[in-house]
Amino acid sequence: MSHVLDEAYYKQLHDLQAVDFVLVELNLYLDTHPGDEAAIAQYNQFAELRKRIAEQFESQYGPLMNFGHSLSRAPWQWKEAPWPWQV
């Protein structure tokens, strides 16, 4: 992944950041509102959506997570740049 990053990379990354952010917000909210069933339903719905967007992103730009949470092609992709602070 040392090639030049295209427009699509930033677009897909932004999509993922947006969905993940909703999940962070709902998670913190649910930590203090554990009985809000509508919020739990929204959380689960976004978790499903997140899975699809992350899989799509990883198929093009490599694994988002280490330690078995993402699959790898050969050669081992995890160690490839760019790292988050480089893009």
């Binding site: 930033y10 932004h14 950041q17 993940d20 952010f21 998670n27 913190l28 930590d31 602070w85």
Partner: protein
């Protein structure tokens, strides 16, 4: 166990080489009210707080590490290709002498991070009030940082981080309400 994700929580863009601003931003990297202090404060307090609020401390503590990575990204980008002369002119000569352009956990004045920046009293109310105060101080620090730059891209990321302090403060205030409550009733308003 912690999981790492190979992405920032929010995009960080900076539009000019500005090592002086990097120096100021170190206040949120290794300063008393910075993101490292925040993460370590909450993740340490959680072992001795009622179970009801352990999840919240774990989650906010974890999010703070994502914010630490954003601040690191800002400092990294703002100093990446700065020359020794530029570092010196920005007041980072002392930093350069010890670290080149490596990041280090100091505040804006170069004082190394210390555990005395954080507290763990073991009293749930005292600790949560400490956390609320920490969020308000971090919010204020972000305000003064926003005031000191005219880089709109950098301001954008700093405004995002400031807003997170607001949300975290609210959640800690709610945690206090939860601990005040007698029988796990729902307590809106």
């Amino acid at each position: 166990m912690w999981a790492y994700e190979k992405k920032l929580q929010y995009p960080v863009r900076v539009s000019k080489c500005d090592p002086l601003m990097a120096k100021f931003l170190m206040e949120q990297y290794g300063g008393a009210d910075g993101e490292l202090a925040a993460a370590l404060r909450y993740l340490n307090q959680r072992y001795t707080i009622p179970d009801k609020v352990v999840g919240l401390l774990t989650d906010i503590g974890t999010e703070e590490f994502a914010h630490l990575e954003m601040i690191a990204t800002m400092v990294y980008k703002l100093t990446k290709d700065a020359t020794p002369a530029q570092m010196k002119a920005a007041g980072l000569g002392d930093h350069y002498a010890a670290h080149d352009s490596a990041l280090f956990y100091t505040n804006a004045a170069g004082v190394p991070w210390t555990a005395s920046y954080i507290a763990a009293k073991g009293d749930p109310i005292a600790d949560l009030y400490e956390d609320i105060a920490a969020e308000e101080k971090a919010r204020a620090t972000y305000q003064w940082l926003i005031d000191m730059t005219d880089d709109v891209d950098l301001q954008d990321s700093l405004k995002y981080l400031r807003e997170r302090e607001i949300v975290h403060s609210l959640r800690f205030r709610e945690a206090v309400e939860i601990l005040k409550d007698k029988q796990d009733q729902r307590i809106y308003f």
